[in-house]
């Protein structure tokens, strides 16, 4: 009985010795197959892969990183379904205008606006008469605090704005070119100090 394909492969690769298959010595068909297998293995192994430039690997990493970042943005788009209509429109508009880092920065501002609106909107009407203060062992519940876990939009915004600072927002240039905000964003520290001084001077003069 001839050797099986598994046995021939094992012998051709050297994981099994020829002596372990006495059949080989007397069977020219199996011996021929073994020779062919070894010959093709050798021919295949000789085909080398040209080595890319050493710089290529970092380039590949950068490409993957950029693709993953885009994937994150895309995932955010899907997540924006859960935002309130007003904010979603704002974010989508920003997304179409800006990209990548600029987009993230813009979300910081959007988040700030959203929070002010949300918290402002939920502010309870001032009580006409103050209720008597009753000492209680329960922790005080602050009506101004919006529990994040109750509001999916806040969680989305928080995850997107985490790690963003004002500098990033400023660099993103959220304010349109030509606007006063844009001009202020472009000012150096000394120019900002001078602007603040002039404004204070003006306010003091007008009695504000």
């Amino acid at each position: 009985m001839h050797l099986t394909s598994e046995e021939l492969v094992d012998i051709a690769e050297g994981t099994r010795s020829e002596n372990s298959a006495p059949h080989l010595a007397g069977c020219h068909v199996c011996r021929e197959q073994l020779v062919d297998l070894r010959s093709m293995l050798s021919a295949a192994k000789d085909v080398d892969v040209p080595e890319p430039s050493p710089l290529f690997w970092d380039h590949l990493s950068a490409r993957v990183s950029a693709a993953v970042a885009m994937e994150d943005d895309s995932a955010y788009r899907k997540g924006s379904r859960f935002l309130p209509d007003g904010l979603r429109v704002l974010v989508d508009a920003l997304m179409s205008q800006l990209g990548g880092r600029a987009f993230q920065a813009s979300v910081v501002l959007a988040a700030a606006v959203l929070l002010v609106v949300l918290v402002g909107g939920r502010r309870p009407a001032p009580a006409v008469t103050e209720a008597p203060v009753v000492a209680t062992a329960e922790p005080r519940v602050d009506p101004w605090v919006v529990p994040a876990e109750d509001d999916a939009s806040l969680t989305v915004v928080a995850s997107l704005t985490d790690g963003q600072d004002l500098e990033t927002v400023r660099e993103a240039g959220l304010a349109p070119r030509g606007s006063a905000e844009h001009a202020v964003n472009q000012m150096s520290d000394s120019e900002l100090r001078e602007l603040r001084r002039l404004l204070n001077e003006e306010l003091a003069r007008s009695g504000a």
């Binding site: 598994e6 093709m40 000789d46 892969v49 040209p50 690997w57 490409r63 993957v64 928080a158």
Partner: protein, 216 residues
């Protein structure tokens, strides 16, 4: 990403300072340097959104993934594109990675699927019959021009023949010959048995002989 974030809202201050705690439900993050993390911990760090964790996975496996793709397509540019695709799919599927195989095996599995699905044998053949790009990269300083020409011609024929192999045979041959994977590892990648892998390998080498004979 930090595990909590506190918003302070100026201009609407109640008696107590306004603080809006937002807590993300995130797993505890290993505070060790990413470089010190093992494979499983690195995957966990990725899932937890730790910056740089996925980059490190890419760095550790990019060469193997690229070489795998190159073996399938025979073109640097296409191999680069496919490698990117493999890692992107890995990123998307990281949550489903259960650690039942090594990360390398899992990436190979994605790689083989991407390559087999995206690249038709016809496309590969077209590229492999013009191996100009390959000639530019190989160190030819120690070789006579005539030898180099013969070697390039022989290699191109073998590449073209491999490209014409049936899908599973091609994948088996590539993983076994060029990536030195064990039959068991190949079985894991291809979702088959060791016996099937050995049979595929045997038939791949037999088919290779026939195809080379046709073009001789």
């Amino acid at each position: 990403m930090a595990s909590s974030l506190t918003w302070t809202l100026p201009g609407s201050r109640p008696p107590a300072p306004v603080a809006l705690p937002i807590t993300h439900a995130m797993p505890a993050v290993d505070s060790r340097s990413l470089e010190d993390l093992g494979e499983r911990e690195l995957v966990e760090a990725c899932r937890a959104g730790r910056p740089g964790a996925f980059d490190l996975i890419v760095e550790r496996h990019r060469r193997a993934v690229y070489l795998l793709c190159y073996r399938f397509v025979g073109s640097h540019e296409d191999a680069s594109d496919l490698s990117q695709d493999v890692f992107l799919r890995a990123f998307r599927g990281l949550r489903s990675f259960r650690g039942q195989s090594t990360l390398a095996t899992w990436l190979y599995r994605i790689g083989v699927n991407v390559c087999l699905n995206r690249v038709s044998a016809k496309d590969t053949l077209r590229r492999l019959t013009t191996p100009i790009e390959a000639q530019q990269f190989v160190d030819v300083r120690a070789e006579l021009p005539s030898d180099l020409m013969l070697r390039n011609e022989r290699n191109a024929r073998v590449r073209a023949a491999i490209a014409r192999l049936p899908r599973k045979q091609r994948a088996t041959l590539i993983l076994r010959t060029y990536h030195e994977m064990s039959h068991q590892e190949i079985a894991d990648v291809l979702g088959s048995s060791v016996g099937a892998v050995k049979a595929n390998f045997f038939h791949a080498l037999g088919s290779l002989k026939k195809l080379l004979a046709e073009t001789a």
